[in-house]
Amino acid sequence: MDRMQILLLLAMALFALGLIGVIVRRNLLVMLMCMELMLNGVNLSLVTFAQQTGTSAGAVLVFLIFVVAAAEIAIAIPIVLVLVHQRRTLDADAYVDLNG
């Protein structure tokens, strides 16, 4: 098993961990962190492939994802803070009545 495969397995593990976390955890902040985990899993796979093919497109995309992730967190965290301010809880199930 060469280094590439290990890295890709690691990326997959990161993504899967994040995904399971988003689905099973109920704490909003933890769910957000798990989403970051998924993004980083994708990032890792991107740089791995960039290394493998010797092109820079993958690496450039990673930076784009960083920016998007930062923007997303910058919006998501205040939303969570406002929600907590209203109901004093981080449990996602407490907000079921916000359904469309």
Partner: protein, 624 residues
């Protein structure tokens, strides 16, 4: 330039009165509404003198090119020859008089400005009709006068009956217009032009166009019979009396309804080669003349009698057209314009005096109370009855003579029926005089108390028109029109009939007078007795042969049924609404089903996303 001005002046009046009339007040409306038609009349006289100075060569004026399609240019061009000169002078002359009469008649009306605006609009379109060189321009005027007629019949539209009468006139005319349009298409296809002088020349020329002149003639006559209220499209004219009386005089007696006669006379080049079409015109005209006259005998509404009389006189004009005496028909248009306008305006004066009463059964004995109206009405009645030497005598006698002797389809049968019509005409007109003006008063006391002679502006116009009805016949109009509308040749063998027929025609006129005196003098007891003896006949006649009812059964109800069952229920409600409602319902139900997924549970959403992604991946692996 002058011809364009004749046409545009009334249009300017329409815009001035229509846009600003209400704000600027009645004096402004009166001045604009009457001065512009008078000015148009003055210019028409000037153009007429120019025409005479030019020896009768037509004056042509192209205002502008309307459309250029391929190699063809469609011009708005005006054509002023002897025929259009006569028509323009009638339209502007009688039109101006009726405008002046309307000042007094409509004084109290709250829509004074609107009335004059519509009248001016009518004049504009009518002048476009008679001055247009091309059938296209004529058609624009033709539709325009229909519009003006619709607006004026329904002038007092607050009453549903009046609005309905306007609609009836408009829709009946549409039927005729369909024929007119088809005739125009056929002519354009055959001759490649719509300019009437060129069409006539093409038909008169050595190589006649490859189209049946009779077919064209009949199609155009369908249009003419709509506008001129001939059988079977005559039903709208009696109802059109719902409009104000000056309108009945101007549009539904003197000018617009003669547009059909003008059209046939203008297209005489076609009709001279259309023997079958000419026969149709003569027979329909004569039938209309006779049946309308029989109906007029039993009507009690003063305006309805005059309306049927108009239909009957128009029928006589078409009889003249059918036997090829085009200029004689125009002669009758000319005399008819005077005496029928005078009669209608006189009737208007009576109605005005009686505060709106139109039923002759509640009149009587008015002669001494409104003497000017009485005298003018009697003069006009004598003129229409054909008593010499008044105007109607000359034109009617000429029609009877050519119906008898014309080598283009004249026959003793036509003459006989036409003479019977003349007898009826004389009879019902003098009946009207007796019932309205003579005998004992049958008015309600309240109405009788208010009876008053009309103002000077009305009686003055009546006097002018009565004078014209008296002397108008001395103008030898057929002779004047002969260069463009030659009279049909009369076989040599028939010439010795001329004097006996003339004497007969005079005798008939006086016979009608005598009969009316016999039946309606002495309190109309003899008339009542006759009516009781022939109740069935009387019911048919006073029911106008039940033609309205027949149309309702044959056309109205089936159409209503089809609209209701096929178009409304099956088409509109079931097919269109049904499919749209079905689609909307489908969307709503689907949305209802899917909205259950929206629980608000974030984990469930995330699970759906993952499941979706997994499904996509699985699908792409299988098909990748």
């Amino acid at each position: 330039m002058l011809l364009t001005l004749i046409v545009l002046l009334p249009l300017a009046g329409f815009f001035a009165n229509g846009l600003f009339g209400n704000r600027l007040g009645k004096p402004f409306v009166t001045v604009v509404g009457c001065a512009l038609p008078l000015l148009a009349f003055a210019i028409a006289i000037k153009s007429f003198l120019d025409l005479l100075a030019g020896g009768g060569a037509p004056i042509v004026e192209t205002a502008f090119t309307w459309a250029r399609i391929g190699g063809q240019a469609f011009d708005i061009a005006f054509w002023f020859d002897r025929l259009s000169a006569v028509m323009v002078l009638i339209v502007t002359g009688v039109g101006s008089l009726i405008h002046i009469y309307s000042i007094g008649y409509m004084k109290e009306d709250k829509s004074y400005a609107r009335f004059f605006a519509y009248l001016n609009l009518f004049l504009f379109f009518m002048l476009l009709l008679v001055l247009g060189r091309s059938l296209l321009v004529l058609f624009v005027g033709w539709e325009g006068v229909g519009l003006a007629s619709y607006l004026l019949i329904g002038f007092w539209f607050e009453e549903a009956d009046n609005a309905r009468a306007g609609k009836k006139a408009f829709i009946t005319n549409r039927v005729g217009d369909a024929g007119f349009l088809l005739g125009m298409f056929l002519l354009y296809w055959a001759t490649g032009t719509l300019e009437m002088d060129k069409i006539n020349a093409a038909f008169m020329g050595p190589a006649a166009p490859a189209v049946s002149a009779s077919l064209v003639g009949i199609l155009l006559f369908i249009g003419a019979s709509g506008k001129s209220a001939q059988i079977p499209l005559h039903v709208w004219l009696p109802d059109a009396m719902a409009g104000p009386t000056p309108v009945s005089a101007l549009i539904h007696a003197a000018t617009m309804v003669t547009a059909g006669v003008y059209l046939v006379a203008r297209m005489s080049g076609v009709y001279m080669h259309a023997e079958a079409a000419s026969q149709v015109v003569a027979v329909i005209g004569l039938a209309t003349a006779f049946f309308a006259a029989t109906i007029a005998v039993t009507q009690y509404d003063i305006k309805k009698v005059l309306a049927y009389s108009t239909i009957s006189q128009l029928g006589l004009m078409f009889l003249a057209l059918g036997v090829g005496a085009y200029s004689v028909a125009i002669f009758h248009v000319y005399t008819h314009a005077f005496f029928k306008a005078c009669l209608f305006l006189g009737a208007g004066s009576v109605i005005h005096a009686l505060s709106g009463e139109q039923d002759v059964r509640r009149m009587g004995g008015l002669a001494r109370k409104i003497p000017v109206t009485f005298v003018t009405f009697v003069v006009a009645t004598a003129a229409i009855a054909g008593i010499p030497p008044l105007a109607g005598f000359f034109s009617k006698d000429e029609i009877l003579w050519f119906a008898f002797a014309s080598s283009r389809g004249g026959s003793p049968v036509l003459w006989g029926v036409a003479s019977a019509t003349a007898l009826l005409t004389s009879f019902y007109m003098f009946r009207l005089v007796w019932l309205t003006f003579l005998g004992k008063s049958r008015m309600e006391p309240k109405v009788e108390h208010h009876v008053h002679e009309s103002p000077k502006s009305m009686t003055g116009v009546l006097a002018v028109l009565a004078a014209l009805s008296a002397v108008g016949g001395f103008l030898a109009l057929p002779h004047f029109l002969e260069p463009i509308l030659p009279l049909p040749p009369v076989p040599e063998s028939l010439h010795h009939f001329e004097t006996p027929l003339l004497v007969t025609s005079i005798a008939i006129a006086f016979a009608g007078l005598g009969l009316a005196a016999y039946f309606f003098g002495n309190g109309a007891v003899r008339a009542a007795r006759t009516r009781e003896r022939f109740t069935k006949l009387h019911r048919i006649l006073s029911g106008k042969y039940f033609i309205d009812e027949l149309y309702d059964r044959l056309l109205g109800r089936p159409l209503h049924w089809i609209s209701e069952m096929v178009f409304l229920r099956a088409g509109d409600r079931f097919l269109l609404d049904g499919s749209l409602h079905g689609l909307a319902n489908l969307a709503r139900r689907t949305a209802g089903a899917f909205s259950r997924v929206q629980t608000g549970n974030l984990h469930l959403y995330a699970f759906f996303v993952v499941a979706g992604m997994a499904a996509c991946l699985a699908w792409s692996f299988r098909h990748g």
